[in-house]
Amino acid sequence: MTSAPAVDDIVRSEYEHGFTTEIASETFPPGLDDGVVRAISRRKGEPEFMTEWRLKAYRHWLTMTEPNWAAVAYPKIDFQSISYFSAPKRPEDMPKSLDEIDPVLLETYQKLGIPLEEQKALAGIAVDAVFDSVSVATTFRKSLAEAGVIFCSISEAVHDYPDLIKQYLGSVVPHTDNYYAGLNAAVFSDGTFVYVPKGVRCPMELSTYFRINARNTGQFERTLIVAEAGSYVSYLEGCTAPQRDENQLHAAVVELIVMEDAEIKYSTVQNWYPGDAQGKGGIYNFVTKRGDCRGARSKISWTQVETGSAITWKYPSCLLRGEGSVGEFYSVAVTKGRQQADTGTKMIHIGKDTRSTIVSKGISANQGRQTYRGLVRIGQRADGARNHTQCDSLLIGDCCTANTVPYIEVRNPSANMEHEATTSKISDDQLFYCRSRGLTAEDAVSMIVNGFCKEVFNELPMEFAVEAQKLLSISLEGAVG
């Protein structure tokens, strides 16, 4: 293991420059105040403007209250009992081998066909430098750089592209937006920055690189993607493998900015640890995702497959400001065991001839609780705006629930709105029919569920769609019978 110290050095070096502190430990003690916010900023070696930005957010956050309108129930979170900064674990503190990892988790990795080295990384095991796929990353970086695309961590961007950060960070989701967004602005750990210059079509899906290297971005992740006029980028977030994390609360913010004739396709497959059968230990995922279609004919497409988390609170939204801009939301959300999800989207039509499409597929099994909450607002000046919403729920078993809460606000008479909603159940007849043809109950459920989700899977990049299908089948194993 001669390479281990090297990794350690690399990991820590990032955090060393500008490191002057009253708090010397790797992980901050629990609690949040001005001092902690400053310390986070200092640990990350941030310039003054960023420290001020965080402090302003923090002070505003103090005046806010936690929202309680979502149809999810959980014990009250004590925000003073959370530690707001932890440096990446050092190898000696990590599990040493797969023998120390929950066998259930390993079984899932195997079913998903995840390579051994990657399994280790996912399970939080110290890995050799070899795995860091330095060569892959370098190739990626090179071809991105040739195209002029900036793709780096948000911490790096704060140092290297302060003007872009000043201009865009918080411009779509301001710190005043909501409680969790405010908290994120004050204490965000790290995340991703993407900048696609004018007229550039990003030469690759921003995925593989991300999936291997940008893990452990912490519990308060921040993502900012800017697509200049006429550009295109497809960004893939998350991972089909269940990710373990010791932090229960996750409050991420994602901001997308799209100029004239540009398009961002943002796909998420999220599979946070949902907790055990009693729902203990699962991740609370409170996410604010919003895209701003600033330019004419700009387009944002959100596709998400959500199978993890104990609690999901998430409404990827589109501000359709540019004339003829387009917003899309395709979602599959699974709740099983004791998982709860309150998720949906907001399509805010501001410009003329704006269009939005919402396709939401909710699957609920065991005692899963799920609410689709969607807002479509057609503003006064949004002449000729159009929306099509389709919300389908599929129930497996008798103890789960699914609700649809559509909010529709139309302030322009020329708007054209269509809304369809269905609820169906996988019936005993359907299962018996499949089984009488030689299929197992699990095969049958997975077949019916995948059929149900087809429209959404079609929107995912090919390779990811295959993984998402597999993931869905695995997550619903044991949901019947």
């Binding site: 169906s424 019936s427 005993d428 007849d429 359907q430 018996f432 029919y433 499949c434 089984r435 009488s436 043809r437 030689g438 299929l439 197992t440 109950a441 095969d443 077949m447 019916i448 995948n450 059929g451 149900f452 087809k454």
Partner: protein, 251 residues
């Protein structure tokens, strides 16, 4: 091949099968007739392993194996097939995909290699012709939006594909127009072989003009009360079930 002995079964606390005996040998075609509610579908469901029925007495063996101890999919893999009286819709599940998965799961359990997409499609095209079914049904979801007749033909199409050893056809003729009836009957006849047995549940002796049975049984109140040759069906058509009941009581 199939031996059913003194089979009794309850559903919803009510005894429906009340001591049913039946023996089907390889290659034989048995017709079961009987009034509505006499337990024909119940019998078919119990044999194929549907949940919700409690077997309280008796036995059913298939090629010597205790059928009642097996899961529905295990029975299917042994070669049992039920053509449903009411085929079930599976919205969103592509028909071709479904059939391929079903066939391969059965092949796999028999230790045969799984068919790839190309050889499967070739096979399926041949079978479609037998039933005069349109290719376009393959691209649709299983039974979803199929007409009543299409659903029934699709059942026999599945049977042709899965090549069971024992097929139970539960009122496959109901709801078919005259031409479709002939097509389905031709399809069934094409599958007759010295190894393959069938139980054909029907209300109409007309079907038995096309599919000649070896034995005709009359099921009433959960029991087979009479068995005979093809002429029994003709007699029933003429005289109705009351005739047997009355005769039974007189005897």
């Amino acid at each position: 091949m199939l031996v059913v002995n003194g089979l009794k079964a309850d559903v919803g606390g009510k005894e429906i099968l009340r001591g049913l005996n039946l023996e089907v040998n390889p290659g034989e075609v048995h017709a079961i007739m009987g009034p509505n509610g006499s337990g024909k579908s119940t019998f078919a469901h119990v044999l194929s392993g549907r949940e919700g029925y409690t077997v309280t007495a008796g036995s059913a063996t298939f090629e010597g194996q205790d059928l009642l101890a097996l899961e529905p999919e295990e029975r299917a893999r042994l070669g049992l097939f039920l053509a449903f009286q009411y085929p079930v819709e599976l919205p969103g599940v592509n028909n071709t995909y479904f059939l391929k998965a079903a066939l391969n799961s059965i092949r796999k359990s028999r230790g045969e290699h799984e068919l790839d997409a190309v050889s499967f499609l070739r096979l399926i095209k041949d079978k479609l012709k037998i039933l005069h079914l349109d290719d376009s049904l393959l691209k649709r979801a299983v039974n979803a939006g199929f007409s009543g007749g299409e659903k029934k033909r699709n059942e026999i199409f599945q049977m042709a594909l899965l090549e069971p050893k024992l097929a139970i056809l539960d009122e496959t003729d109901s709801g078919l127009d005259i031409d479709a009836l002939r097509v389905v009957a031709d399809g069934v006849n094409a599958l007759r072989s010295p190894q393959r047995s069938m139980i054909v549940v029907t209300h109409y002796q007309r079907l038995l003009d096309y599919i000649q049975p070896d034995v005709v049984h009359v099921l009433s109140k959960g029991r087979i009360i009479r068995s005979g040759g093809k002429e029994l069906a003709l007699e029933l058509e003429e005289k109705g079930y009351g005739w047997i009941d009355a005769e039974g009581q007189a005897a």
